[in-house]
């Protein structure tokens, strides 16, 4: 079967592979594609169950759209500040980077705070995780998103501490890039949740 392999010498050696992304960056992309399926499953669950109120209040009547709009703007702004921070890292201006990192974390925590306020309000109105399937689906979907925001804030603050260490400089670009990918992903998921849960819930 020798003829199945062309003799060496006539066979071009494919040395020039395209420049591969850093392992961490590629790994995070793959992880986020799994996360997409995670949120897709939760959103499908919400769409299936959002009208099952078990005799309790329906979500559409309880939604405070102006509050959620402010929260949305807050979270989307944090994507901008994250990108500004990454730009500072590329310029090796670590002071500027830390400033935008702190702003991003504050915006993220502000979003989480508004979400906590909203949850408190909904619980007071009797719309709860254990009141009806619609409540279960709502709090699970938005709650898991909120946990992702909190984890992002934890990551931002951890990176802030790490940025004062000597090892930071050699890995700064990659460390900030993967965090940025995650943070933008969490924001994009919120855009979908805002549309599907809040806007469609209000017009329904």
């Amino acid at each position: 079967m020798a003829e199945m392999h062309p003799p060496i010498g006539t066979h071009p050696v494919e040395m020039e592979m395209p420049a591969a992304p850093d392992n961490s960056v590629l790994g995070v992309w793959i992880w986020l594609s799994a996360e997409s399926l995670f949120f897709a499953s939760l959103i499908a669950t919400f769409l299936l169950l959002h009208n099952q109120n078990n005799g309790g209040p329906s979500l559409g009547k309880l939604i405070d759209l102006p509050l959620t709009f402010v929260a949305t703007v807050t979270l989307l702004s944090s994507s901008l500040t994250m990108a500004l921070g990454y730009a500072q890292v590329l310029k090796q201006n670590y002071g500027g980077f830390r400033f935008w990192l702190v702003v991003t974390a504050i915006l993220g925590l502000a979003f989480a705070g508004m979400q906590a306020f909203e949850f408190h309000h909904l619980y007071a109105e009797g719309f709860r995780l254990n009141s009806a399937p619609s409540g279960s689906a709502f709090f699970t979907l938005t709650g898991f998103h909120g946990l992702h925001v909190l984890f992002g804030a934890f990551w931002l603050i951890s990176l802030l501490f790490f940025s004062f260490k000597r090892e930071f400089v050699e890995e700064a670009a990659v460390k900030v890039k993967v965090l940025g990918l995650y943070w933008h992903f969490v924001d994009v998921v919120w855009v979908i949740i805002f549309t599907v849960v809040y806007l469609m819930g209000k017009v329904a």
């Binding site: 392999h5 592979m17 392992n23 790994g27 669950t45 099952q52 995780l129 990551w155 990176l159």
Partner: protein, 632 residues
């Protein structure tokens, strides 16, 4: 500077270690990030869980050997078949295959390790921890008892009040997260760490199988993660996802489960296909017939595996249109699978087939897997399935594909790769005894189940009345189990004995074609003294046929400082993180706030330390630097 890799070769390829040996002792295994050691631990733990699941099966067959028997109670029988299924799928089948993936894939692509060695160790410990946690349910009021797919409402708090199903939800969640990380890790590894010249269409078939398997893991496990969370919330926090009286939907569980579950069974068979595709060409001394169609058919099977999940639920009333579409997509999978079967046969045709034990398992695989595939097509016919469903016919079918397919391929891989990773052959004489006993015992056990199913015996039933005419085939089936068990015991003796006393193996005992045969047996921790240059499909065989029988080194820029090899440091952090997650899991199941706080607190610490500890690694200076030996 580590000095533990000073090795010299002489005496027909035996490895004699002259310097300090590689680190030994329990701690070195607990902290290792070496893909070969992690792979061996996956194999060891997988075989341990395989033994447990085998004992469970043995007890079930004892109970069913005679009508109205009282070997186990009905309640215990429910726990036995649930744990048997969960264990075989999640704790034996997948880990044994992931073990092979860990052992083989980095070397086959010419890499020194996986992309994320520490994450790889975390995957291992999460799998072992989640599995052991699941088994501790026996001590906390009983194992899960709602079947391996754990349908609501029988798995809901109302009908399954004990903590068993909570152990299912949280134990599988933990081991599932480990599996997901394995998928991410190996996708990154295969995309990024291929040696120079190892283009996509030069990847060995086992690497292709791993690539598609990893894709399936990454896209199939998130729906399971969600499903397990939903049920956890229902059972622990009173949510109403599946509560019918409140308007919840049990069909949601069924659909999310099978959206995961069908790709899952392809996760269990795809690496098995890869193993067969490695063994057949080497043992037939021919290149794999139709390499490109093999790649395409693996991708087609992977794609179609997401399109067929409703065929597990033809009787749930989705109507003729939905059922017809899913019946057709299910039958379509037989086409790429058939392509693979014929390509293996055509590879052997005209080759010099060596009838050693590995090849025995391949033939056993081909015969039984085709039988299982045929009954699979019968089950895909929706109207017929309404008759077969929930009968022993289904049990017969999936044991033909999972034992005859996955397990026989795992055994073929064990006899094929054992000499590479231990430096010793498995005993051929014992191996053939094992093969014939298992092959005959398997068919005697499971072929009668086709008849039992057609005679109307339902699955998951703990006993049957004497006048139903089921006694004869049931007793024959249980007789087969004794033969099967004898074969498995011989296999276990073979592995344990050969590990220390087997015949010594050279580097390339089978006249192999792929890169793992170009390095010593067992491989050094750093795999390759230099990164090899790949000049064709079947990289090592090309060098033996056209070159001087050794891999050429890749150009300079692919190496570190000359004469030294950079290695990642061992670390206890993955084990610590996995233990923290287990503690947090127990906290949830036992409603213990203290355990939750301790567990999740340590998880936060562990994640911080894992993300922000910079590992500078260490350097190895191999003594034997002149070249990778082809002759061993």
């Amino acid at each position: 500077m580590a000095t533990h890799s000073e090795r010299v070769w002489h005496g027909g390829g035996q490895v004699v270690v002259t310097g300090d040996e590689e680190p030994r002792g329990l701690w070195s295994w607990l902290t290792t990030v070496d893909h070969k050691r992690i792979g061996q631990m996956y194999m060891g733990a997988g075989l341990f869980f395989f033994l447990l699941a085998g004992i469970e099966a043995f007890l079930m067959r004892l109970q069913l050997a005679q009508p109205d028997a009282h070997v186990v109670s009905a309640a215990l029988f429910n726990q036995l078949f649930t744990m048997h299924g969960v264990t075989m799928v999640f704790l034996a089948g997948m880990p044994l295959l992931i073990g092979f993936i860990n052992l083989v894939v980095p070397i086959q692509i010419g890499a020194r390790d996986v992309a994320f060695p520490r994450l790889n160790a975390l995957s291992l410990w999460l799998f072992i921890g989640g599995g052991l946690m699941l088994y501790t349910s026996w001590f906390f009021g009983g194992a899960p008892d709602a079947g391996w797919f754990n349908y609501v409402p029988i798995s809901a708090g109302e009908f399954s009040p004990g903590p068993g199903v909570d152990f299912y939800d949280i134990g599988l969640q933990i081991s599932g997260i480990g599996t997901l990380m394995t998928g991410i890790n190996f996708l990154t590894t295969i995309i990024n760490l291929r040696a120079p010249g190892m283009s996509w269409l030069r990847l060995p078939m086992f690497v292709w199988a791993t690539f598609v398997t990893s894709l399936l893991i990454v896209f199939a496990f998130p729906p399971l993660t969600v499903n397990l969370f939903l049920q956890t919330f229902d059972r622990l926090f009173g949510a109403h996802f599946f509560t019918v009286s409140a308007g919840g939907s049990p069909l949601l569980w069924a659909n999310l489960f099978w959206v995961f579950g069908h790709p899952e069974v392809y996760i269990l068979i795809m690496p098995a296909f890869g193993i067969i595709s490695e063994v057949v060409p080497v043992m037939s001394r021919r290149p794999l017939f139709g390499y490109t169609t093999m790649v395409l058919s693996v991708m087609a099977i992977g794609f179609l595996s997401f399109m067929v999940w409703v065929h597990h639920m033809f009787d749930l009333g989705y109507g003729p249109w939905v059922n017809s579409i899913f019946a057709l997509s299910s039958m379509l999978i037989a086409v790429p699978t058939g392509v693979k079967i014929f390509n293996w046969l055509t590879t052997m045709w005209g080759g010099q087939v060596r009838m050693n034990t590995a090849m025995h398992w391949v033939f056993g695989f081909l015969i039984t897997f085709v039988v299982g595939g045929m009954s699979g097509v019968m089950l895909a016919l929706a109207p017929a399935d309404l008759q077969f469903n929930n009968s022993y016919f289904v049990v017969a079918h999936f044991h033909y594909v999972l034992i005859g397919g996955t397990l026989f391929a795992i055994f073929a891989g064990m006899y094929y790769w054992f000499p590479k990773y231990t430096g010793r052959f498995l005993n051929e004489r014992l191996g053939k005894w094992q093969f014939w006993l298992v092959f005959i015992g398997f068919n005697v056990t499971f072929f009668p189940m086709h008849f039992l199913g057609l005679m109307g015996m339902p699955r998951r039933i703990y006993t049957y009345a004497p006048h139903l005419g089921l006694t004869l085939w049931n007793s024959i089936s249980t007789d087969g189990v004794y033969i099967l068990t004898a074969g498995m015991i011989i296999g276990a003796i073979n592995v344990l004995w050969s590990y220390g006393h087997g015949e010594l193996a050279a580097a390339d005992p089978w006249d192999g074609r792929t890169l793992e045969w170009a390095i010593p047996s067992p491989p050094p921790a750093y795999n390759f003294e230099y990164i090899p240059l790949v000049r064709g499909l079947d990289a090592f065989w090309v060098e033996k046929r056209y070159g001087n029988g050794r891999m050429l080194p890749a150009p300079e820029e692919h190496h570190g400082p000359p004469g030294t090899i950079h290695m990642p440091s061992p670390t206890a952090m993955p084990l610590f993180l996995a233990l923290s997650i287990i503690v947090a899991g127990y906290g949830l199941i036992l409603h213990s706030l203290v355990l939750d706080i301790i567990g999740f607190g340590f998880v936060a610490v562990g994640i911080y330390r894992s993300m922000f500890t910079v590992d500078h690694g260490y350097f190895v200076r191999p003594h034997h630097i002149e070249g990778v030996r082809a002759d061993g």
